[in-house]
Every structure is written in structure tokens, then in C-alpha cells.
Amino acid sequence: MDTQLHRIVSKSRIASFTTQLVVEAPDVARKARAGQFVIVRAAEHGERIPLTIADYDRERGTITMVIQPVGRSTGLICSMCESDSLLDVAGPLGNPTEPVEGGTVVCIGGGIGIAPIYPIAREMKALGNRVITIIGARSADYLFWEDKLGAVSDEVHIATDDGSKGIKGFVTMPLQDLLKSGARIDRVIAIGPLIMMKNVANTTRPFGVKTIVSLNTVMVDGTGMCGSCRVSVAGQTKFSCVDGPEFDAHDVNFDELLARGRIYSLEEGAAREAYEHMKDGEPLCLARK
């Protein structure tokens, strides 16, 4: 087959339950922009899953992905070793983040969403914006890339559910403070769990601040041919793979998305149980045959 092999150049654990992979994908790296994603099929028999491009290196021809092993496919990918290869990496897909110039941008990353917010913050900084970054996670163990984000932000706020680092609570708390302070904010961009993005949308709505969220829906092809990723935006059906993945948070029907996110929960459970390469909640590096 004329498929490129996507060798895993490096693999590291960057937080509890969180793996960073740098993968050879020169075609994707050449074109990747902040906000875009790839569709990955790790192996034969595998499913196609969307993963956000957390960073890219055009010269080395690599992309970086940050993954939590939440199910069978992510578990499998996280258990691959350095110099193993992913079978298919297609992209870059979706629309790049809409640029803002010379304003103030608040970038919010929750949990695994901290990774995709990084290239966006970096680009916003490069466009001459004042960048305020807010990151949140369950606890300090789950935080990562604070330094990387610090280097491209004017301010970094941290929130943890248990208060083990930064303020105790959710990312919406520092956001609320910022909005109330009356400082000019041109754009809020939030990536994280659906419920977090919904709460961010509800926080900014009364202040009329344009808010963008990146939707992580169920996808199959990622090129607009099936509609599994469809979402209601301002009452209209959109395909998040081609029309998004970023949408105006104030127009998104989050309740519908929350329901659609549960479509395969039964099957996902069955698939997870069939997956054995886990130890103490962490994937093992598969022994190469």
C-alpha cells in the first residue's frame, strides 16, 4: 500500500494518565495550523478517532498529540512504544482558529484540552494579542505544559477541583473575575470537557464577549461525508469536522451534544473490557513481536 508509516518519534508521560506522542507525519506538519485535528487509525481492525494537533514541527515533519487512555483506541495508542508506527494519520482537518489581532484573548484549557489550547495561545501571542491563559484539571497531577503556556502568555491562571494547585474550583472562576474586572476582552477560546465549555459559554454570555469552543464530537471520516459529528448551531445543523471544530459557544446546543456524546457508551464499555494492556490505570508499552 502507498501509505506512509507514522513512526512514533518520542513518547512521554507528561501528567497522571496523560501521554504525549510526537509522530512523523510530514504531510500534516507541512500544513497544520492552530485549531486543526487529525484522524488516526492506529492499527488494522482499528477505528478512526479524531485527535487534536497539539503542536507541529514543519522542519522535522512531526506532529504532537496529547492523549489520555480513556477507551480502547486511546488505550491502544498510549500503549504503543517509541519507533512503533501508527497506521493512518489523515489531516490536517477542520478549520484553523480564526485569528484575532492586537486585542486581548483569554485561552482556556480544561484537562486534556490544555494541549490544543497551546498552539492557539502561541498564535494569538504572535498576532500581537495580550494572552491570558486559564488552565484547569482535577488535581495538580493532571496539569501539564504550564511552562510552555507561560512562555506564550501574559498571565496564567490555574484552577484545580481539589485545590492541589492554583485556586480550588473551576476555570470559570478566574474567568468570571476577569470579566467582572471590566478589562477589555476581545475573545475567549475554550477547549475541554463539554460541560466545562458549556459553563464557559454561560459565564461569558451576560458580558457579550465572543466565545469560541472547539467541539470534540463522535467522528468517523472527518471529511464531511457522514454527519456523525453533526451539531446544532444557532438552530442549524452543522458538521463539526468541516464546518468546525470551532463554533461560537453562544450558538451551540450543548444539551444535544451531551446526549450525542453518549451514543456508544455501552459499546465503548464492552470494547474497553476487551482491552487488556492496562496496569493500575496506565497502559503498558506493548511488547514488540
Binding site: S73, G91, V220, M225
Partner: protein, 483 residues
């Protein structure tokens, strides 16, 4: 025989001619291939009908009248020399027959299976005036399936390069034709498997995927390179391709699913036929959890539509264990699906709900489908397409209890290419505008054919267009090089 006397020779000749006359060919009956019985086949994804045996093929081929002016060729969009290959099969020269077909058609094992022959070659067969027409499709399939170990010598390169976007029937055909002319051809395919609708759309029980793989391998053997996971417009743009290639052919198809636009269409359990079939055919979700892609196995499924895609989706759902309703807003006569597929669907127990149109999908409080409300339709005067226009009957709403809904009301061309390419004009249906003679789009050096131009149509019409476009590309490249 050497040393034979003249008298003996005459005797032997006479006996042979008597034997020949005694062997009467009954032209009235079609030779039918064996089929899996319906109660068996709804439990598997194996092919429904078998390929002819050598004997069956010979007997069917002998029904051909070898017309002096064969109408069947006129009915074939790529003009296969049908009487020639049929005569070859009748004479037991199967390999020659396959070669005859491949002169005009690079994908005969596919076309023999999925062409709507009743409205093409077989429609014009003279036998059909009195009895049933010759089973040209089944004979084509036989010759293709029986073809052995084929070696194709690559053409001497002519020094020109063409990029082909999409590896469906149009792209594979254009690539094959151009490679035969000596072009270096590279196909860019967005998915991880080549074949387009042949890989993700048409189910195994109608078109086994190893047959598709074999035909793709044949196109590769002509020297065509296929690059997978390349989304033109994203991974690489048409403008970039134009810098590296003498011409570009777009065969990106019509893969954007249409929805009904009725309330409840985003409930859990509502699929586009594209999604449903892609999960099952391309991702092998029917083998979950051996394969990782899941699919909802509904207990009661409603499929909306009356084309081949609707039949495929309905029969697929049946094989996944569901009771299946097929909802179509016109009558059976107006269904655009192949007759054979409609018959197969009926035999398999698909329940046809004709002259019915969905008005909303009903959900429970958790966001899952639990029913579909339909209104009865009646046919009135013909519309612009010439088919009777269905009109809803007031107050005729009924609800079918279903847990899954599959929408199969057609596809439109994917807007991605036009969105990412400057100067590529679309018509009002969202299809690419091309010159009727040159197949060139509004962008110099960029050609197009198949569903990307005509909207969703048939495999063979896409191939026919691609063949013509390949000729036009050849003329264009040569004339440009000559300047």
C-alpha cells in the same frame, strides 16, 4: 485426419453437423446462477448470488443472437464489444473474453455486479423483445471472476504526469486510461482504503471487498500510484498539484449526505446512510468488537428513501438483526433502485412503507429515537423530473415505533474542494461546472467527471465520463506540450 479416405471424411463431417443440430439452444429461458436462500443470507454478509459455473456461463452465452448491428453495445456507457466477449465465453475462451472486456472497462468484476443492466445493455438486447434479455452483466462478472494471474506491461512513459483526486469508479477509470496512454498517474485518496463508494458504500453481500481490492490492484499494475490519507484541499491543494502535474482530474464524487431537515434528526439513533454503511463496510462494525468501530444494532429500523443506497442500508440493518421498514414517498414503480435489489430486499423481509413521508423523528427524554411520524402521500401530476409529484394527505399522520432511523435520500458533492480552490465554479446543485466537450472545469488544466459533476448517479456513468475525460486530458496535455 492424416490418411483418412474421402468417404470417411464426408461421413464424419455429416455426423458432426447432425450432432450440432440436435443440440438445440433454448433461448427462451435465462440461465440463473445459484443464490443464497433469503433465510440463510440475512444471517451473513456473504455475496447473495454466485458467479456462473463454466457450464451455466456457456449455456447463457449461447442464447446470444450475435446481431449484425448489436444494440447492446449502444446501451453500454463504455461501449464494451458485448457480442465478441459473449461468443468467446460460449466457445470456452474465458481468458480472451476477459481481455475483450478490459479493452473498454477496467473494472468488470464490479460493473458486472452493480450496473443497472436492465436500463443499459440488457434493456436494448433483442432477446428481451420476446423473452428475457441476455444476462450480459452476469456473463461480464463471470469472465472477470475467472480471469487468472494477469500481467499488464506498463506503457513506456510519455514524460507527462497527471494527478487524480479520488479513488472511486471515476478516479480509478481515469487513472487506468491515462496510465495505458503512458502517463505517470498519482491518485490522492482521503480515506485509508481505495475504492470510494465501492469500499465504503456498497455492502459486501453485493460487492465483496476482496473483489474491489483485486480491481484496485489491477489499476496499480498499470503503474498507477495511490496515495492514501490525502485530503485534497487540506493535506495538499489543487494549486499545489498544478505545480507538479501537467493536469488534474477531479473524481471526488458526491459524498455529502442530505438530511430531511425535519425535527428530531439529531437524536441518537438517526444515521445518514453514508455513516451507517461506512461503519459497516469500511470499518467492519458488523464484526465489533473484533473490529473496534461500533454500530447501534437497532431492534426496529426505519430506512428513508427508495434508491440503491436505501436498499443497501435496509438489507444491512436486516443482517444486523433488525426488523426493517423502508419508507418511500412514491410508489414501488417510481423507486430508482435496481429491480434486482428491490426483489432481494423483499425476499429478505424488508417491509415496504410506500407513499409515506417522515415529518418528524420522535425521541425520549434521554435523546434517543423511539419513533418516526409519517404522513401518507398521494401522487399527482408529474414534476420537472417527469415523475409523479407526491403530495401529503391531510390528517393522515401515523407513528412507526422504531429505535433507529437511516436517512438515504441522496448525496450532494462535497463542497470542500471548491471551498479551498480559487476559481473552481459550481452549478446551482453544488456540482462542478465542466465544459461538455473538454471536461475541463473553470480552472485551466483541471478536469472533472463522475458524481462530482453529475451529482449522485451510477458507477458505470462515472466510469464512462472518466474515460471521455481521460481522452480530453490527453489532448490537452499533448497540445500544450506541442506549443
Amino acid at each position: 485426419m492424416p490418411g483418412e479416405k474421402v468417404d470417411d471424411w464426408l461421413k464424419r463431417k455429416k455426423a458432426a453437423s447432425v450432432a450440432k443440430e440436435e443440440k438445440v439452444i433454448d433461448r427462451r429461458q435465462r440461465v440463473m446462477p445459484r443464490e443464497q436462500p433469503p433465510e440463510e443470507r440475512i444471517k451473513n454478509f456473504d455475496e447473495v448470488s454466485h458467479t456462473y459455473t463454466d457450464d451455466e456461463a456457456k449455456r447463457e452465452a449461447q442464447r446470444c443472437l450475435k446481431c449484425k448491428t448489436p444494440m447492446c453495445i449502444e446501451g453500454c456507457p463504455v461501449g464494451i464489444d458485448i457480442p465478441k466477449f459473449v461468443t468467446e465465453i460460449a466457445g470456452g475462451r474465458t481468458q480472451e473474453a476477459a481481455r475483450t472486456i478490459k479493452e473498454r472497462n477496467s473494472l468488470p468484476a464490479i460493473c458486472g455486479r452493480v450496473c443497472p443492466q436492465e436500463s443499459q445493455c440488457e434493456k436494448l438486447c433483442i432477446l428481451g423483445m420476446k423473452w428475457r434479455p441476455l444476462s450480459i452483466g452476469r456473463l461480464e462478472r463471470y469472465a472477470a471472476d475467472m480471469q487468472q494471474d494477469e500481467r499488464v506491461e506498463p506503457q513506456p512513459p510519455n514524460g507527462h504526469k497527471v494527478a487524480v483526486i479520488g479513488s472511486g469508479p471515476a478516479g480509478l477509470t481515469a487513472a487506468g486510461e491515462l496510465a495505458k496512454m503512458g502517463y505517470k498517474v498519482v491518485i490522492y485518496e482521503a480515506l485509508h482504503t481505495a475504492g470510494g463508494v465501492l469500499a465504503y458504500g456498497i455492502p459486501e453481500f453485493r460487492l465483496p471487498k476482496d473483489i474491489v481490492a483485486k480491481e484496485v490492484a489491477y489499476v496499480r499494475s498499470l503503474g498507477v500510484e495511490i496515495r492514501l490519507n490525502q485530503i485534497v484541499g487540506k493535506t495538499v491543494t489543487i494549486d499545489e498539484l498544478l505545480e507538479q502535474y501537467d493536469a488534474v482530474f477531479i473524481g471526488s464524487g458526491a459524498g455529502l449526505p442530505n438530511f430531511l431537515g425535519i425535527p428530531g434528526e439529531n437524536l441518537n439513533g438517526v444515521y445518514s446512510a453514508n455513516e451507517y454503511l461506512t461503519r459497516v463496510n469500511l470499518m467492519k462494525a458488523y464484526k465489533f468488537p473484533e473490529y473496534d468501530t461500533p454500530i447501534k444494532r437497532g431492534k426496529t429500523v426505519a430506512v428513508v428513501g427508495g434508491g440503491n443506497v436505501a436498499m443497501d442500508a435496509a438489507r444491512t440493518a436486516r443482517r444486523l438483526g433488525a426488523r426493517v421498514y423502508l419508507i418511500y414517498r412514491r410508489g414501488e414503480e417510481e423507486m430508482p433502485a435496481r429491480r434486482e435489489e428491490i426483489e432481494h430486499a423483499r425476499e429478505e423481509g424488508i417491509e415496504f412503507k410506500l407513499l409515506m413521508n417522515p415529518v418528524r423523528v420522535i425521541g425520549d427524554d434521554q435523546g434517543w429515537v423511539r419513533g418516526i411520524e409519517c404522513v401518507t402521500m398521494e401522487l399527482s401530476e408529474p414534476d420537472e423530473s417527469g415523475r409523479a409529484r407526491p403530495v401529503p394527505v391531510k390528517g393522515s399522520e401515523t407513528v412507526l415505533d422504531v429505535d433507529t432511523v437511516i436517512i438515504a435520500i441522496g448525496n450532494s458533492p462535497n463542497p470542500l474542494l471548491a471551498k479551498t480552490t480559487q476559481g473552481l465554479k459550481l452549478n446551482r446543485h453544488g456540482a462542478l461546472e465542466v465544459d461538455g466537450y473538454t471536461f475541463m472545469t473553470s480552472k485551466e488544466g483541471v478536469f472533472a467527471g463522475g458524481d462530482a459533476v453529475s451529482g449522485s448517479a451510477t458507477v458505470i456513468s462515472a466510469m464512462g465520463q472518466a474515460k471521455e475525460a481521460a481522452k480530453a486530458i490527453d489532448e490537452y496535455v499533448k497540445s500544450k506540450a506541442g506549443k
